[in-house]
Symmetry: C2
Subunit: 221 residues, 2 copies
Amino acid sequence: MRFVPAATLAGMSEKAAPTTTPDASRRSDRSRRAIYESALALVSETGYAKLTIEAIAARAGVGKQTIYRWWPSKGDVVLEAFLDLVQRSAVPPEAGQGASALPDTGDLAADLKLVLRATVDELNEPSYAGPARALAAEGILNPQLGARFLEQALAPGLRLYATRLATARENGEIRAETDVAIATDLLVAPLTYRWLLGTGPLDHTYADALVDQVLGGLRKG
Amino acid sequence: MRFVPAATLAGMSEKAAPTTTPDASRRSDRSRRAIYESALALVSETGYAKLTIEAIAARAGVGKQTIYRWWPSKGDVVLEAFLDLVQRSAVPPEAGQGASALPDTGDLAADLKLVLRATVDELNEPSYAGPARALAAEGILNPQLGARFLEQALAPGLRLYATRLATARENGEIRAETDVAIATDLLVAPLTYRWLLGTGPLDHTYADALVDQVLGGLRKG
């Protein structure tokens, strides 16, 4: 799924940026970027459990105190690096409406296909899939990280689906009795399932067929 | 989901049971049972990555050569222990029809609710959830284990859904154009998603509402 809309993260990026002199700020930006990249590369390569602050610092070419000055723990730096990655890649221009809502052209099927196709592309992109799978796997075993991954990375995107579906329900495009939380699950869970467990192909054809089947239902009309 | 029907595993249990004298066979059965229980308890407690054959042997009170005599690797013993667990717990008597098919009373909604409610109970059972989550998480990171987990633990159960849905399609209960692979995803992926990522409650009410929404569709008729 689209894990996180960019707008949700604006506050975080600002908070992380040190505000001192212009030169110091440029140096800090470079360091922070290098730390993000190291954290994402290493979590992909070694998994979350074996990742250390020392290894991130060494690969980024900074002292480990630089990392501890900005982030209290390994979980904080990895999650922030991941959210930064999502922010930079999440919203394709054609999705429209900025980053705080799913597209709403009045055609629910077309809007959902646009979003699910973009999500398929994201899930199939190795630079995204590596750290995302590492965090999802660790979150399954480590309840504290799992709760933070859910709250920071998954929940904001899920709320956008619920909002778009609630609008469609108000407009009479979908049934009045639709449970938008379940409808959201029907759209995002099958993509995640195929992506995490490898049960079948994950491509645009699948995204389109999924939307049609969820909207139309299985039962013969 | 119902990961595996018991019938699928009959061959495996037979193969694993040594056939020597009655006394030796009883001793072997006890050892194998102890090894299964140790493997499942340890994979829940420590995760798959940190599990060792030595630790399984020590906890089971057997020599590690006993394990190596029957199983070539850690993956083999853990997967077989997990499949044995599923075999012993998978099919509630009221599901009927033995273990090689989903129930088929002619009422698709009722049959699916019965199966999904049983699956919810299974996913919420700690003795099942511990090793199942550990294997799912490791399978996300370790492609070789992931492929075996899919083939041995997930795929047989998914084929039962596809078969039941294909019957409903032939009987005209669901649309002729239904893609049974996608329809299977719509039923099992939301349960798995909530179970692995903790996005919402996983109970009988959810199972029932999911079936109704998948069959009826979202679009206003």
